[in-house]
Amino acid sequence: MNLQLDDFWSFYEWFFRPGAFLESAALKGIVLAVLGVVLGLVVGYVISSSRYGSGEGFFAVARAVRDLFRFDLPGTRIRRIFALARLAFKEAVRRKVLYVVGLFVVLLLLAGWYLNPQSDDPARLYISFVLTATNYLVLALALFISAFSLPEDIKNKTLYTIVTKPVRATEIVLGRMLGFVAMGTVILIPMGLLSYVFVTRGLDHTHAEVADVRELASGGFEGETDYTRFHSHHFELNEAGEGVTDMVRGHRHVVIRKEDGSFRVGPAEGALRARVPSYGSLVFRDRSGNLQEEGIDVGNERLAGGYGSAGISRLIGVSRGTRKIEHGYVEGGGLGTAEYTFSGVTADRYGDSIPVDLSLRAYRSYKGNIEKGIRGSITMKHPSKPIESNPIGFTVNEYEVDQKFLPLEIEGTNGNKTEVLNVFEDLVDEKGRMTIVVRCLDDSQYLGMTPASVYLRPTDHSFAWNLAKAYMSIWLQMTMVTAFGVMFSTFLTGPVAMVATAVCVLLGFSAEQVYDTRHYIDAGIERGGGPIESMVRLLKQDAMTTQLDVDTVAAKVIKTADAGIVYTLDAIATALPNLPKMVNTAEFAASGFDIFGAILARHAVATLGYVLLAFLISYFTLKAREIAA
């Protein structure tokens, strides 16, 4: 899992972006609100002046705004919202929406057909399967029930009997949203429970037999488990006959030698987890030992992507270019290092060792010894004083999280002396910080890392809670889609409202691609251009990196039109919720990382903001609409 810049932000940093307010979510919210108000007033004025004439149109708009604050908001009653929500809920139930849960069960039952049993990381496979399935099912469902209900009510004229009761437009909108969200919740809860059972049961296994057991000289044992579910483990036991197997496919087993000499292999452990990482700040040193902000770029690492975190500042052109965090590389053989400085390294957070996880990449500039991985070392170092431990060597395990435990007592150098160092006393400074230095040991080979590649792991959270958080994220997405669906359904017919909502969802998902295109247009890079240009290239069968091969005037027209389209799309995509980021929480759960509270809180606040916006738009359109027309 490659974390991006904005994943590290705390809620406060995300909301206010101290020092870079243009990128902040607060600004985005404000701009959206202001734009919403201005657009609303303009559209409202155009509509009402066409209805009543230009002068009266102005008063009509003013009155609509006044009505909201003077009558409709104060007149809104929870009782009626609940009554309408109950109705929406019942409607969904009687429409047999709950069958979706049944569909989900069928999906799980048939999962064996498409889940590869020989996968190296079954936990990721299972978790991302259940979360993806849930996510798409629930979003599709939210799309359907929210977009069709209100237009259906208008078409069947059932809304006549509602609006002729003392029901306010606010209540109709909120009632719908609430009812459908309640429905979604009722569907999500069993799905979550089923997913939990499916994943835990699916990964649970043991090995009945052991093989090739030999007694070690030290009095312990070593051996192999049997080959079950396409894998086996190697284990070593101590003299007391207790031990664990090695990690295979993300899990291991406890092995105990019983008194009668037989071996008992316990259930799989460690497959389902929620690591709580403690990240550090990263700096690099080049081969001469000079400090660098970034590591060496070994290739096409950061061509595109990562624009989203720049918010408004990217849209208005203040910040340009990609901000994607990619691997920076450290050269072996010289003085090149990567230095992570961690804070909060205190004795009370860590037990008898400091767990550190590495997920590094290797880049070979020559083939070298292909049998062996690239070697590296980690050194614990005092952040400011010249005290450091002896290096601990490792061989890179690419595409896997390599779990290490740093000892609390280790030999090292203090100035010029060599002595046994205590980590907390000698290597950690008074603020609780410690630096970990990563080096590449093979000459002219490279180790790649991001700020998220090396982290300390003080604790793990429970997997169940993490899965629950992933489901909360799905719930938030569902709420957002429901709000959009209801909003569109106040002025469009059912199918059109559904398509409009779907377009919003899809545009939200592909926002980065739109930003990409915009970036290339801004930077003058030939990358196929906007929609018209790429169509021309397709027809002419031109490559996307060549100059557009049409005459100058035509090229100018095409490029200008394209820029217009792409800028518009860009503005819309920026205004839409960042759905890929929300879906990405599934990736956290699948990779075995605790979903950061800050990320969930951000999603929750963003959802609330968009729901509010959708609510206001819905209110005004519903209010302006002739129900019986």
């Binding site: 009155r63 009653r77 019942k90 409607e91 009997t161 609006v163 002729t164």
Partner: protein
Amino acid sequence: MDTDNSTAVAETSEDTSPTTAKSSDSVVIETRNLSKIYRDFWGRKKVHALKSLDIEVRPGEIFGLLGPNGSGKSTTIKLILGLLFPTSGRVLVFDQDASETQKNERIGYLPEESYLYKFLTAEETLDFYGRLFDLSAADRRDRVKQLIEMVGLQGAKHRQLKEYSKGMTRRVGLAQALINDPDLVLLDEPTTGLDPIGTREMKDLILGLRDRGKTVLLCSHQLADVQDVCDRVAILHQGELKELGRVSDLLKVQDVTEVHATGLDDAAKAEIAEVIARHGGSVQSIDNPTATMEDLFLNIVRESEARPGARRVSQAAETKDASNGSTSDGDQA
């Protein structure tokens, strides 16, 4: 944007001033110069559904809107309810603009067809509508029970409305309109889909509402029903008000005198004009014969079709007439 049509000041400025002084109890519904033009998506005029309608509905009366299909009856009701916005003119209900939600606290509406949620049972339906009003849970339960009994659906209250016959749905619709014990009841074609017994019951119910001091506005093309229950009617044709007045007055044939007498011998009969004037047999009634509603209606429609837009009702004279007559005359009997 807004439904409120005090906007159409240009057209209605003259009318606006006097009404503000009016107390809320003198008029329940007032339409002023009310017009509605249906437009298509591009704003082109499709139908001029209602042309400058001025009517007043007073408290405690049963007011009928009469007219052939497409005459603007339903449009009028929808404008009164705020389901449509007037193109010009305005509607006041309880002295509030029709777009005010607040007025609905005192209104009950039975739509043309009962537009109800088919997936709810009768009891759930009434309970749902009850929840939209400020009723305590106990009151709501009582009212639901009482209304279900009133419309005679005790046996079917747990069945979903999709299993109901048209007449039964109609009854639920009526019960739904009365859930808040409204002061003003608007009934759009109340008797369609009802059998003769149901129709009779509906009429009795409407009269019962009036007896309890409620105001009823109904629109219908069932002439007999209108004749039976309405105090006053307005006849619409092609969006124009063609006739407005008390049912009894409208049906009076002014230039004919009808005499019912008994106990006169043949000689007396021959001299009947004198006899009545001088001899005086026992005259049982001397009155204008009444036509049926049907005659009146068809006459108006034919005339209107022959000379579109020609017939105009002088509203002021008519209403004054009616209001003077209504209390003292007692010619209803």
